[in-house]
């Protein structure tokens, strides 16, 4: 068991290193650099950067150095616990991400809670009462949820909320609270803004989970042990919840690995459409601006989260499912 964990840990370190190389290379793949992108973005908004300024900027940011040197410099910084300076933001990368991390986690957790709270009971119901009227209705809604892209749903909900309910559009705070220090009123303001992003972010996941839960449970319900349990006279609730549901939960546990990076980044496109101050839009803007320190750190963070997440789901699976645990011994 310990040897297993150590081996997984070493592999994880290696993976993270590979991720760092890859993410750095990917950010350098597009033509140009931060300075060309800066000139273009200034030109697009009717301003100008002169040639001298461009040269000075490139010199100060070390962009004229070979890519290997830039990479080594970056890694050296990271090993010191310093993720560099976000070029566009003029602040340390850790501060820029840190600012948005809390809110990102709040939104993502809200979406996950929404997803699970809805998907699990509905999935179980749909499987147990297969082909009932409610099953069809849920399936129908589920397919719509799967088929409509999140950003489009976000646009529609946002327009309806604005046009018919006069709601504050986008963002997580009203203008009055955006700057205010944390208080009860501000928390309440956040709570009022939270449902729309949570629903939009959660809806496609919910649909997917309902389908997975339904089909997994259906597979299990057919198995002889369920019949045995029934024959033994266990209550229907106990028969279903105690055994087949537990087994059907396996896929959920193994997706925790993907959940962790999601919690940190949020959905990029939906966050952008809804103007949520999360890490997602930050990553997109950093990539467009070719801000390698910021983009590289976020990609690295996502990679690390995936690795940790996978590691945790492996452990959880061993804990939840005796078959895996015993099979290994």
């Amino acid at each position: 068991m310990l040897a297993y964990i150590v081996r997984r840990f070493l592999l994880a370190v290696l993976t993270v290193w590979a991720i760092s190389v890859l993410s750095f290379m990917i950010i350098h793949l597009p033509p140009g650099d931060y300075v060309t992108s800066y000139i273009a973005s200034m030109s697009a908004s009717g301003s100008a950067v002169s040639e001298g300024e461009a040269l000075a900027l490139r010199d100060q940011l070390g962009l004229d150095k070979p890519i290997t040197i830039q990479y080594l410099k970056w890694v050296a910084l990271i090993l010191q616990g310093n993720f560099g300076m976000a070029m566009e933001w003029g602040r340390p990368v850790s501060d820029v991400i840190g600012d948005r991390l809390t809110l990102t986690i709040v939104i993502s957790l809200a979406a996950i809670v929404f997803t699970w709270a809805l998907a699990l009971p509905i999935g179980i119901y749909s499987a147990v009462y297969r082909y009932s009227l409610l099953d069809y209705i849920f399936t129908f809604i589920g397919f719509i949820g799967l088929a409509i892209p999140g950003f489009m749903l976000a646009l529609i909900i946002m327009y309806v909320a604005f046009a018919h309910f006069g709601a504050n559009v986008g963002g997580l705070f009203s203008a009055d609270f955006a700057e205010a220090p944390w208080s009860l009123a501000k928390a309440w303001d956040l709570t009022k803004h939270l449902p729309i992003p949570a629903i939009v972010l959660g809806i496609s996941g919910t649909a997917q989970m309902i389908r997975i839960m339904r089909s997994n449970l259906l597979d299990e319900l057919r198995k002889p042990y369920v019949m045995t349990a029934r024959a033994r006279g266990l209550s229907e609730y106990r028969v279903i919840m105690r055994y087949p549901v537990r087994v059907a939960l396996n896929p959920f546990v193994s997706t925790i690995g993907y959940l962790l990076p999601y919690v940190v980044s949020g959905s990029i496109i939906v966050s952008l459409v809804l103007s949520l101050p999360t890490v997602g839009p930050l990553l997109l803007k950093a990539l467009i601006a070719q801000d390698m320190f910021l983009a590289g750190t976020i990609v690295l963070l996502l990679g690390v989260m995936t690795v940790i997440g996978t590691f945790i789901s492996d452990l959880l699976l061993m804990w939840v499912d005796p078959r895996i645990r015993l099979g290994r011994q």
Binding site: P30, P31, G32, T36, S37, Y38, I39, A40, S41, S43, A44, S45, G46, S47, A48, V49, S50, E51, G52, E53, A54, L55, A56, L57, D59, Q60, G84, M85, E88, W89, G90, R91, P92, D95, V96, D99, Y131, Y136, F140, I144, A147, I148, Y159, F162, N168, V169, G170, G171, A175, A178, E179, S271, L272, V273, L274, S275, L276, P277, P281, A289
Partner: protein, 690 residues
């Protein structure tokens, strides 16, 4: 129960198809309003009278007693701030403004949108009153600003500026010639900070010098006549845009800087180790990075400024907010210290769609940046509900979508040869139906024409040049192409290449997600060029990639606005290939020009060489000769058609202004130009909440 499933699947599919069609159709509809005629009329009726506040220059008319905002009066009472008369410059040295309509009321919080730390120009342009000189509300006349007056010597070699005695930084310390000399000696001449000298601080590649005459007088001296330098001081340039704006850009321009504050970050005043340690402690690589951060009014709320408002919550947080500078050196004609508005709050919109939607909901007080012309019908529809008025401010530049020809393009010899041929360029220009473009994409609010600026501007060579080679004439276009031996056509009616390699296929690069829908305009031009037998592939690229290809001369054509070109000498890069930082018309030539022949490639085109000579000479010319030169240059540019103009002089570029109905002193129409730092030219210091 099987039939239930079949029915269910069918219904689901039906709904999905409708949804997809609906979403696809919506985009097409937005580009082409059904009732074009009606919208066109609405569009032009929203363009009001160009107006703005006047500044008083007669000292006798200056106010003698002064008033201040209640929020400052309280501080004075509490003993935290000196009295208003002590904070202002000497009475004869004031900046006195007669507001556009009425004396305003103090107070209020101006709400706006911004899109993140790269959007510093958003508030830089509101806060541009710390420019040394500036342009008045017409955008044509230079007026004093931070400097009280200026003088150009007869030989044009020296430009002298006179500062306002008693003007103070936002922390109460006086602004003197020493702040200019500090910038010049310790910032500008320090190669670690400014490695390459500013283009505008040089004449013909030779450096200018700054000299202190007395505590309130500064002279800029050049080895050769440089009469144009006064425009550099008034324009949006590295030397003239003001300390705040250049700091916002994270560049070390501005020609002056708060010496008393910045000295602590320079090695000269302590030691290299000390400043580097300070930088490291704060998470910066080295002292230059730290200085850059401390230099920026947008990032650093501690740096003293000369602007009407100073940052409270910096630009790299979700709200960029600012409050009034208690030491601002301007008053209205009744003696009220300006600005009227207490605070400005910019809230972050992660994308411009959200900013537009919030503006429609009436959540912004004045917003002209990021508002889309294509949404004009929706803006008008909701104007009453949102309690705002829509103003359109057309620009002066000839073309919001100019098809810039890659004059230095080489990759395909046949196409390169054609692009370098004036007749070919003329044929392309004559094959465009600009009125159709104007109706479809500008809602009729633009003006069809060449790349030449509006006839209202000083450099315009005359209205006939706005139409030259810029009207639809299929007959002449076809004749020109036939004369180039492009007579053979394929079965679809497209002309064939002369080297026998099939159809002549041009490539037009467009960039998506900008103020103007370049790609859609390009697609319509593609349809129009079919009539002259020219096939063009419209290729949308990511902005950075498009610019990088520009830099390596790989683009045959690229669509980009020619904004700023109306001030040909201040911002020539969209009119002529002369700037090595950005050039869509041949980077190799721009590099050759900028480096005086040591880099890049010399163009063969004798007309371009003639334009280069004239352009270079103009900087030393006296005003009237320079205007003549500009007119001559525009004639060459239009005649040679190095860029094809389509539709311009429109409000598409930051000219859709949403103004809440309770805002006072806001002009019906304001100049919409980079050099005028719109909306600074309308003096936001005089805006107020009724």
């Amino acid at each position: 129960m099987k039939w239930v499933r079949v029915v269910f699947v069918l219904v689901a599919l039906g709904i999905l198809c409708t949804l997809t069609m609906w979403s696809g159709g919506g985009a097409a509809e937005a580009a082409m309003p059904a009732d074009q005629q009606k919208t066109a009329k609405i569009g032009s009726s929203l363009i009001g009278k160009l107006e703005g506040p006047e500044i008083l220059r007669d000292v006798k008319a200056y106010p003698k007693t002064f008033k201040e905002a209640p929020m400052l009066a309280e501080k004075v009472k509490a003993g935290k701030l000196p009295a208003v008369a002590k904070r202002l410059p000497e009475p004869s040295q004031l900046f006195v403004v007669k507001p556009l309509k009425e004396t305003g009321k103090y107070g209020g919080n101006w709400r706006r949108a911004f899109t993140g730390p790269a959007d510093h120009e958003n508030a830089n342009r509101i806060n541009s009153a710390d420019k040394i000189l500036t342009f008045d509300y017409t955008g044509a006349k230079i007026i004093p600003c931070l400097a009280r007056d200026w003088k150009v010597s007869d030989d044009g070699k020296t430009t002298t500026i006179f500062l306002r005695k008693g003007a103070k930084w936002s922390d109460g310390k006086p602004l003197t010639a020493n702040d200019f000399m500090f910038w010049y000696e310790d910032i500008y001449l320090n190669k670690n900070i400014v490695p390459t000298p500013f283009f505008e601080f040089q004449i013909d590649g030779k450096d200018g010098k700054m000299k202190k005459i007395d505590d309130y007088t500064i002279a800029f001296e050049f080895p050769e006549p440089y009469a144009f330098f006064v425009y550099q001081l008034a324009g949006s340039t590295g030397i003239g845009a003001g300390f705040a704006t250049r700091g916002g850009f994270q560049n070390f321009g501005g020609a002056y800087a708060p010496a008393h504050y910045l000295k602590q970050f320079l090695p000269k005043y302590s030691s290299e180790e000390a400043v580097n340690k300070k930088a490291k402690d704060l998470g910066f690589d080295n002292w230059v990075s730290l200085l850059k951060n401390r230099y920026s009014w947008a990032l650093n709320n501690e740096v003293p400024v000369m602007t009407p408002w100073k940052t409270v919550s910096p630009i790299n947080t979700p709200t960029w907010s600012m409050e009034r500078n208690p030491y601002f050196w301007a008053v209205d004609n009744k003696g009220n210290q300006l600005p009227y508005i207490d605070k400005i709050t910019l809230t972050l919109a992660e994308n411009t769609e959200v900013a537009n939607l919030r503006a429609i909901a009436g959540e912004y007080d004045i917003q002209e940046r990021h508002m889309h012309l294509a949404k004009l019908p929706v803006f008008l529809e909701n104007a009453k509900k949102g309690n705002y008025t829509v103003h359109l401010d057309p620009g002066f530049n000839g073309s919001d979508v100019a098809i810039h020809i890659g004059n230095a393009y080489e990759a395909d010899p046949e196409i390169s040869k054609l692009l370098k041929n004036k007749d070919f360029r003329h044929a392309l220009a004559l094959g465009i139906d600009r009125d159709q473009l104007n109706e479809a994409f500008w809602l009729g609010a633009g003006t069809a024409g060449s790349v030449a600026p509006s006839p209202d501007t000083i450099f315009s060579p005359g209205p006939e040049w706005n139409k030259k080679w810029a009207v639809l004439d299929l007959k002449q276009a076809n004749e020109l192409l036939d004369k180039l031996d492009l007579t053979k056509k394929d079965s679809e009616g497209y002309r064939l290449r002369t080297d026998g390699k099939g159809r002549l296929r041009l490539e037009m690069i467009t960039v998506g997600g900008q103020f103007v829908p370049y790609t859609q305009v390009g697609e319509m031009v593609k349809q129009q060029w079919k009539k002259i037998g020219i096939d063009v592939d419209v290729k949308e690229l990511e902005r950075n990639l498009a610019f990088t290809r520009d830099n390596s001369n790989e683009n045959q054509m690229i669509t980009w606005a020619n904004d700023g070109s109306e001030m040909l000498f201040l911002f020539p890069r969209h009119a002529l290939p002369v700037d090595a930082a950005e050039s869509h018309m041949g980077m190799a030539f721009a590099k050759w020009y900028a480096s005086k022949g040591t880099a890049g490639k010399k163009p063969d085109d004798p007309e371009l060489l003639r334009a280069y000579d004239l352009f270079r000479a103009a900087f030393g010319m006296k005003e009237e000769d320079r205007i003549k030169a500009a007119k001559e240059l525009w004639k060459i540019i239009v005649e040679q058609t190095w860029s094809i103009g389509t539709v311009g002089q429109s409000p598409a570029f930051m000219g859709v202004r949403i103004v809440k109905n309770n805002m006072g002193n806001v002009p019906e129409r304001q100049v919409n130009a980079q050099h005028a730092r719109t909306p600074h030219s309308s003096m936001p210091i005089t805006f107020f909440f009724k």
